[in-house]
Structure formats: structure tokens, C-alpha cells
Symmetry: D3
Subunit: 243 residues, 6 copies
Amino acid sequence: MKLLLINPNTSTAMTQSIARAAQGVASPATEVMAVQPSFGPASIECQYDEAFAAAGVAEQVRLAQGWRPDAVVVACFGDPGLDAAREASGVPVIGVAEAAFHAATLIATRFSVVTTLTRTCITAERLLQRYGFERHCGGVHGTDIPVLDLEHVSDETVSRIEQAAREALSRDGSSAIVLGCAGMASLCTTLSARLQVPVIDGVSVAVKLAESLVALGLRTSPLGDYAPPPPKVYAGWASTLGW
Amino acid sequence: MKLLLINPNTSTAMTQSIARAAQGVASPATEVMAVQPSFGPASIECQYDEAFAAAGVAEQVRLAQGWRPDAVVVACFGDPGLDAAREASGVPVIGVAEAAFHAATLIATRFSVVTTLTRTCITAERLLQRYGFERHCGGVHGTDIPVLDLEHVSDETVSRIEQAAREALSRDGSSAIVLGCAGMASLCTTLSARLQVPVIDGVSVAVKLAESLVALGLRTSPLGDYAPPPPKVYAGWASTLGW
Amino acid sequence: MKLLLINPNTSTAMTQSIARAAQGVASPATEVMAVQPSFGPASIECQYDEAFAAAGVAEQVRLAQGWRPDAVVVACFGDPGLDAAREASGVPVIGVAEAAFHAATLIATRFSVVTTLTRTCITAERLLQRYGFERHCGGVHGTDIPVLDLEHVSDETVSRIEQAAREALSRDGSSAIVLGCAGMASLCTTLSARLQVPVIDGVSVAVKLAESLVALGLRTSPLGDYAPPPPKVYAGWASTLGW
Amino acid sequence: MKLLLINPNTSTAMTQSIARAAQGVASPATEVMAVQPSFGPASIECQYDEAFAAAGVAEQVRLAQGWRPDAVVVACFGDPGLDAAREASGVPVIGVAEAAFHAATLIATRFSVVTTLTRTCITAERLLQRYGFERHCGGVHGTDIPVLDLEHVSDETVSRIEQAAREALSRDGSSAIVLGCAGMASLCTTLSARLQVPVIDGVSVAVKLAESLVALGLRTSPLGDYAPPPPKVYAGWASTLGW
Amino acid sequence: MKLLLINPNTSTAMTQSIARAAQGVASPATEVMAVQPSFGPASIECQYDEAFAAAGVAEQVRLAQGWRPDAVVVACFGDPGLDAAREASGVPVIGVAEAAFHAATLIATRFSVVTTLTRTCITAERLLQRYGFERHCGGVHGTDIPVLDLEHVSDETVSRIEQAAREALSRDGSSAIVLGCAGMASLCTTLSARLQVPVIDGVSVAVKLAESLVALGLRTSPLGDYAPPPPKVYAGWASTLGW
Amino acid sequence: MKLLLINPNTSTAMTQSIARAAQGVASPATEVMAVQPSFGPASIECQYDEAFAAAGVAEQVRLAQGWRPDAVVVACFGDPGLDAAREASGVPVIGVAEAAFHAATLIATRFSVVTTLTRTCITAERLLQRYGFERHCGGVHGTDIPVLDLEHVSDETVSRIEQAAREALSRDGSSAIVLGCAGMASLCTTLSARLQVPVIDGVSVAVKLAESLVALGLRTSPLGDYAPPPPKVYAGWASTLGW
């Protein structure tokens, strides 16, 4: 099975770190190809950044067509370009926020999200609403840790996230933590041991969900909203990306 | 990995058929133990039946404690006893309705459910509401096929289900079908080929979700609502099942 | 009028105390028969307990068929087995959580629930969602008083409940209190006098709702979801309870 | 017990017919005083009419203060002036739409409303949303029968309502009918016999709910939103109605 | 363009102050006629008051028919009589709460409302629910400033509102303030300067929305729920107001 | 006042046609600058197209900074890049779907959307959910007219849209029509005359809303979710667009 793992930002260090997280949980039979857009923000910390990142995800799905991936994972907690990737690939496409939320509802009645910048909470809240998990999430909590600080995580950063998680569990009455940034994947084990509740990293869940759907022969529905894009002239730098 | 597969009704033929469906998709490393309650209805076609079936699921989780399962699947589309099983096992517990709904939202923007008796639609509708998928489901449709007719599926039965699915796709504007009975697991491939949209059987999805959570080290949260039951005196035939 | 009052747990003391509460408000013309399941937990403090209790309610409705009750009240705040009882009896069936919520919305714009173990709040929250009262309830608050401590209520217990109610009124901005356990029925007058807001015990409301529906000739709808159970073979200890 | 029954329109014939319906179900110990506003529309068929009717309900509650009612029923399906009446009376106040919806959810999983003018459906839909019953109602259906035609109901009118109810049950998948006009109270028995499902008239349910709350000692909460109106200068014809 | 500006209470000082606010933002081509009901409360601080005010709005729309307004603004934060005014005028009718909410959602992801009496919050909350903005509003906060104190605003009053707004922004995580009383219109600039976030007065927004709809040729739909009232006999003091 | 009007697709003919629609309703004092992205799809008919268009909107807001617009309108019915534009401009930004929905709820209790390709309905449905108008919209209806056919509208195309609108009004019980494509702006008057209900084109409403907010001194909140983007390195073709 060939898995296309897209880091929607343009930080190569982040792409590598996410790739390690994915490979750490992937089955031996899964070949992971980790890519990042050819353009756009080094990290995604606002909706302006996200607009470029979503186009970058679409670009990478288009460019990887020749590789014929069996599934795609979009590895940024805002799930940018998820629908575009589904239309353009036809195979299962899993976003890491989506994956983490799904897993959380299977093992806890209420979960909390701990993320990076407070201003990105709105994105997670809208995804929760879209996916239907708004009633299962007790709260989305910003730590105001810059995304790129997660490339090399310090002890202090871990402690800040742990502290935010403790407060969230208590205030929200929740019993599981979702890590709200693909860059936090490596902290999962440490935090879970310290907090004694499930701590969920979306990257690893997304990989297993993708493998599961492929194993079951389930693909993105070719009917309706996710049908392949209609043929279209594309202008400018994107002129080769039209359908 | 040891998977406890519980058929909540007392039809041995159904237990065997569900076990086959589960084993057909399980990893080679997964040992499946299929069980059914020691009491209760031969099939679950109303909420009276379901009340006994839920207790039967709780009983089987309790009795299987010595076997130390790594995960549990509850294989009836009403997901009876799901919460009880989570408290009593501490490991991941997946219901087949839940599993099918999760998978459907990952590959289609809207799905329809085709089930057995029309009167059981209310159960699916309440589960959709509880899980948060009420906006993703275009409709739940009864075929009024008795559950036990699914032990040996006739061509006519397949055609009725196919016809109901076609109407559902068209009327609901949906693009995937969820089969609303664990007994329909064997029809998945046939129907998917005929309808040319994803057709989802919850049993097989539940097995893969259970395997995924176990692989990721995610267990039912020990904190709060799903903590082990408090110690309690149990009376009557259930006297050995108290905590 | 004959009223079947089911205590879903197997504590005889609790059954008697609930019966007293019911008889205290019932019309002289109402004959109350108080029963409890022949099996299951002495108190209901988690969803594992509740799975058995729901089957116990179904059993008692079935066994009381010969008595031909005109209405049924299910006297545990989780309303276990409510739907099963409706199918199996055909007469009006009222749960005490349901009854209390209905009454609360008629006399206050927002109410709070004060209950026993914090872990049972999830059950009340799901019922609120199912019944449609999630926007009318300001919060469900656990006191972590064990249910069986309510068999003989101490002054300290009353004070703890009073204190929790005061905090709930203030934090939730609510103006009525619903007591979240059938075992709290006897505290209603005391607490109402102390708090100077309506304090609602579901047992007494359920009795009056049941009497009202009977007086109006309204019965559980025989059409659709609550039709009598389809005939079915039942196995094991429940073999005589099939339809 | 003294029950103030307010017909919010100014049709004396309608007031009398509603009074008969109320007295037909009231306990012998309940004294019913039926009143109507001193001003406003002869029937309520749009929101312009309803604005005057709500003020008329407020007027009648104010004028009846000397009589010291124990409860109030507002007998128009739009529940006009319900909140005003709660503030101004302090006793339980029940609207007939509210009452009918509550009863319907106790005996059926889904109900349909059959009402008079199609343009009034929006009022019922908003009430359903406010009370929390929007998910329990399958649909609100107009018959375009003028309200005052219900003063003397012809066979043809009954047949039109019956036909609309049959279509509603089938299209909505519902199992009980709520009559969407206080003027339809007298048709309840006939329609119920013909349709073989519960048919609910809000006037009679409201009377029993009012009696029930009074029997239980439950009054409108004096705290917060329903506290008595603050003192206020009133101008014009309403100058004596200020608090 | 002729704009009918209705102050639903009977305080002439308030009518004048609202008229000044409206004229301050109206286009030179807009003629504003400010009116108030001939009856009813001097200020609107509870739902009893509001019942009379809604009828007063209906009265004023009816009486102004000869003037042939092009649009109507209802200038009380509870939007009393809004629907009645739409039916009775046929032209665009804008409520000031409605207007403020619409504007707030266009410039902020979440807003808070700061209003007068705490007991009126329920009205704003119900409007938010009706208009669909319940998820965009972080909270409605009372200051318990009497409405008529706003006729001549003291420094202390401004400070209390400012303080409430600061707390609301912080607690709700919101980024804009809606002033919850038409009488607060004059404070908008001061508060906006102090708080450094958008502060929204519904009166001025309503005027611009009304002008916009008129400029676009958009009128209240003549079809369905807002069609002109059906002809009707009106009794008592309202006898000339029937249709 | 300077208004930046962004056509998110790269069809110059469409940009000109939208510019004409905007200029037709803009105040004489409003200077309209109409632009389109330097890259991307000639029309937006799926979510793959939309991913590029959203980045294109962000690009154009960034490039127009020197011009210092007072407001921005995003003229594609999917409102692509709306949040990005708010962050990047700081001034009011209005999407045409958003604008049309807002206007519709001010003049009708329920509206229907008639759009181009059926597969784009999902986008409108998600916007309705996000903005809070899901309960006000009776349905979103595709006509399967390609977007670029709207550059030169034939009589047959008008008739198809009219027919779809008539069916929508009847099936949805709605009383206003929202045109679901910026390219339909020129059809508004014709359709309104034929259908005799309000027909709403988002482009013209967006222009008036933008003018209104500017006139009132209301800008996108500088606090929180819409604060200017944090400084960031951008790679590839977008290297000059970082903050």
C-alpha cells in the first residue's frame, strides 16, 4: 500500500518529523511518501496561511497522481484542502484533526483539544462543527506556542502543553486529550504517561484509518460531491494543475 | 491481539456468520473470539429486544474478563450495551453502527442507511444524534426484511436491499450506503459492485478500528464516565456479575 | 386507575421509599403497585449497572401484564428501559428524569440538575439531548453522594445537596432545581423551602403526568416505533419473557 | 383550585367552546373561569393578529389578579403572551401548543401537527424550536381552514383534517397527531377513532398539566426571568395595567 | 426614501434620542419619522412590558400606512412586533437586535452582548436562537442598569458598561461588542475608542440595512408567512386596527 | 470609499460582468476596483477549484494593500478565502453567499438557493451551517448549468433557472430565492418579475453591506481570530506574499 503523506506547510524539518511519526505506526507493508507544497507558509498559524496551504495540498495530490497512491493523509490540524484532495485523488483521504476527533469519540465521552496559537482555535471549532463532534469536545485551548517551536521541543514546551491539558481536563470535565498540531506527534507518549488519560495524535490515527479503509476496499465515493473535478482551464503558475 | 466479538442476539447461526465476516478482514495476528449472550432474543427487532441484548453484552464482557481481550466489538446495529462494555472492559470497544457511520463520513459527504424493520430506524436515528452524525446522514430506510431472514440470504432479499439503496441514494442525495444490520455483512461486495458507490458493513469496519486503536495503544479512558464500575451487590441470576 | 411503579434497582428499601413518594402525591383513585427487578444491581451508578436495570424494567413490565396496569412509571433518573416498557405495555410510560425535565421547562426558563455520582452526569446529559431539553438545562452537577446513602438521609447529605444547588443556580443562571435521583424524592420540600426556588422531584411529577394521560385517554401510540414487540424466541433465564 | 382559562382572541363563541373543552376534562374540584381580551382580533391567523392577542393575554392576567387564580391556561396554539402571563401571575401558566407537544413526546417518538392556515405553520415551528421539540415533530401541516369555521364544525371540515392527518402520518413517518388550533378541541375523539393513533388537543392537556403542577405545589419560579414585572408607568389605554 | 422609526416604548425622551442616533447615520435622502405607541410601558424591561410594546409597534405600522414608508426600523433590542410589522407594511422591516447581530457576524468570529437588566438576557438569547446566531454569540451579559437611566447617561454608567464589556470579551473569547439596548446608541463611539474593538449599536446598523434593502429594491416577501394580514374584525380600543 | 471587488476565478469576462453588477448598485461615491487572481481555475465548480481560488483571493488582497481599500467583496458563491481576506485587509470583507443569506433572512422566513452544478450544493450547505442560516434555508438546488454558460445567458438558461426556482418555492415552502452564483447577478430583475417573490443576488447585496459597514465606521475586529497574520516566511511562487 502506498500512502501519500502531505505536510501542508513548507517546513522541511516539519515534513520529516511528521514522516517519522507516520512511519512509526504504519504497517511494514505501507510505503509512506512524505511531501510538502512547492510554495506557501513555513507554518500555518492563521487563515491567511491556511488559504495557501490548502492550495498546496491540492497541488501535491495533483502532482502525485503518477505515483498512484492508495490513500492520502493531510497532516495539519486544520485539515486544509481535505475536500480538494478527495476529489482529486479518488482514494481515501484522512485529515489529522478529523482522525484525532474520530478516535477520541471512540474511547471517551468528552475530549479536549490543546493546540498552538489561541487564534487557531476557531479553525478547530469549525471543523468540530462540520464533522459533527461539537458536542463531544469540551473545549479547544490555545497555548500560544509558535508552531515552529515544535520542530525541536524543549522541556518547557512539554510542560506548558501538559499544564494546559491538565486544566482542560478539569475545566471541561473531559477524559481524553487531542493534540491540536501535527507537530506535537512526538509528545504523545510522554504526555499520556504523565496525564494518565489517552492523548491522541492525529497523524498516527490518520495513518491507521487510511490503512483500514484501504484494507476494506473503501474509497472516496465517486458519486456526487467528491467526483473527480470537471475539466477546467487553469491560469498562471497553476496552469498545469487543471483537470 | 485478542478481539472479543459479541453478537448481542442469541442466534448461533448469526454469531457464526458475523464471526466469518470479522475473520475475513482481521489481520492474521488477530485472534477473534465470537460469543453471544446466555439469554435473550434470537434477533433484535425492537427496543424491548434491545433491553435484554444490552444486558447480554454486559454479561459477555464480564464473563470474558479472564480471557483478557485487547478490544471488543459489539456486532448489532443498535450498538446495545456499548457504554457498559467500555466501563467493564477498559479496552477499546467499537459498535458496528458507530464504526459504519465513522467510515461513511470519511469517504462521502452524505450517506444513507438501509436497514431491516422500519421500526428499528428510530434506534439508528438516535445513535446518529448521539454520535454527532445526524447532519451527515440523509436518511434511515427500513426494508421490513426480518433479521433472521438474513441467516440465509435469498436473491430476492438482495434485490430488495439493492432497490432500497438506489432509492435512498436518489432521494437523500447521498453517495454511500451503510448496511443497517450486522447480518448484512456478507452482502457488502455484491451491493457495492451493483450500486457503484461505497457500501459499508459495520462489522468489518469495527474490526479494523479496533485493531487500529490497539496498534496505537489507545484504550478506553480510565477517567470519568468510562471508569470501571463501582463495586456493587447484584441480585438474582446476575448475582455473580456485580463488580 | 392502576399504576405500575418500577424501581429499576434491587434495593427493597429504595423501592419502599419511592413507593411512599408516589403514594404521597397520587390521587385517592390511583392504586400504586411498586416493584423491582428480580435481578441486577442494588443501585445504579454507572452504565454497566444501567444495562442490567433496563432489562429488569422490561422484565417487570412483562410480568405485570396480567395485572393490566393503566400506566407505568420508571423510577430511576436514567430512565432505563423506558422505550422497552412503552412497547411492552401499550399504556403511558413515564420516566422520572423525563417527567422532571418537562415540569421544569413549564415553570422556569432554565434549570439545573443536581445528582449523585459525577460519572452519572453523562446519562442525564444524553437524556436531555434525546428529549430536546439540552438548551433549557444550565448544567448537570454531581455531588458524589452514593445512591444508597439516600436510603437514610443525614443532615449533612441534605446540606451537600443544598450547597450544590446554590452553586448551580448561580453558575448556570438557572431558576429551578431538578433532583437527579429518585432516592432524593423526600428532600424536595426541605430544599425548596431553603432555596426559595422550585425544586422538582421526578417521581411525583411522573405520577401526575401518568394520571393526566390516563384521564385524557392518551396511550402510547400503537403505530410504528412503539408497537408491541414482534413475536420472538428468547433464550436462557429470559425464555419466558419473549413476545 | 381556580383555573384562569384565557382565549386570546375576541370570539365569544370560541371562548365558550374552549371553556367546554376545558371543563370536560377538569377535575370536579377545579373552578374554570374563561375570559377573553377586551380588544383585538376575532381570530388569530397571522403574526399581526398575534401581537394584539399577546397583549390581550397580558391584560386578562392583570385584570384577574383579584380573583387569585392558582393556574392559567393560554388557549391559542401560538401560545401568545405566555411569558408575560408567567411574570404577571406567578402561578403555573400553560400554553396549549406547549401542552400538546409535551404530551405527544410522552407517547410517540415522532408527531405531526395539523393546523388551520398554512401561514401559521411558522409560528408552530418557532415554538417547537423554542421548546426543544423540533426533532420530535415530523412536520407542521396547514389545511387552510379559517379559524372561525371551527366554531361550527362541518363534516367536510372534519374530513379535510382527517385527510391532512393521514397524509402527515405517512409522509412524516410519525405516530401521533397534534391538533394545531384550540378550536379543534372537540374533534379529538372522532379523529382519534378514525385514525387509530393518539390525537392530542392542547386545551385538555393544558388543563391537566396545570392541575398537576398545582397539586405538586410547583409554581413559576420567582427567581430571574419570570420574576414579577418591575414597577413601570404605562401610557394610554393601558395606563392601569402597569406594575 | 421614507423611514418609519418606531420606538416601542412610550418614553418621548427615548424616542427623540433614538431619532437623533438614526438621523446621525441616515443618508441625506432619507426622511426619518420617529414614532412611539399611543399606549404601553415607558421602558421595556420584562416580557410583560414587551407584550404591550409589540402591540404598540403593530399599531404604529398600521397608523403610518397613509404615510407610505419605504422601510421600518423597530428600535428596541427585543425586536418586539417585528413579524407583525413585516406583514402589515410589506416593506423591509429591521429590528435593532437583528441588525446588530448581523453586523457583528460580518466583522468578528464571536461577539458578546452587553445589555441592561439581567432578566432581559433571555429575550436576546431567544432572538439569537431564532435568527441563527446562537453559535456566534459568546454570551449575553446584564449590567442591571435601568433602561430609563440611559436617557441621560452618567460617566459612572458608561464605566459600568465598559467594565462589563471588558469582562465579556475576556470570558467569552469574543472580539466585538453588541450594545443590548437602543438607548445605548450614543455610547458607541466612546466605548469603541476605549475598548479598541468594534462596538455595535443596532439602531445605526438597522438604518443602513433598511436603506440598503430599499436601494436594492428588496421588500418583505409578499408570499407566505409575511403576506398581508387576512381581513379581520377587531374589538375594543383596537377596533380600527383590523385589516 | 474604495471597494476591492475580487472575482475568485480567472475568467476576465466574468470579472467584468460582476464589476458591472457591482457598479450598478454602488453609490456614486464608491470607487470599485475589480480584480481576479493571477492563477487558478476559469470557473469554480468543485472543491479542488475552490482551493486554488481561495489562495487567489488571499493573493489579491495582499497585492491590493497599497491601494488601501476601505472594504472588500469576494464575488463567488462559495465565499472562498473570506477569512484570509479579513485577516489580511483589516477592513470589512463581505462574501456574496453570506450577503445574500443575510438579506434573505431579513425579508422572508424561509428561502431557497438555486445554483449551478448540483455538486456545489455541499459548499452552500456548509456555509449555511457556518453562518447559522441552516434553519432559514429550505433547500439548495442545483440546475447543472455550467458556470461559464452564465457569461452569455441564453433564454433557455433563464427558463431553467426560473423553473428550478418555482419548484424550490413550492417544495421547500419558501418565499424568497437566493441566486447561488455570482454569474447570475444580471438575472435578478427578470426572475423577480416572473416569480413575484424577492430574488436575491449576493453581489449587489455585498456591495451595499460593505458600504454600510464603512459608513458606520465598523471594521473587521483587530482582536483575536481576525488579527493581522503573524510574520511568516513564504516559499516558492508565493514568496512575496508572506506577512
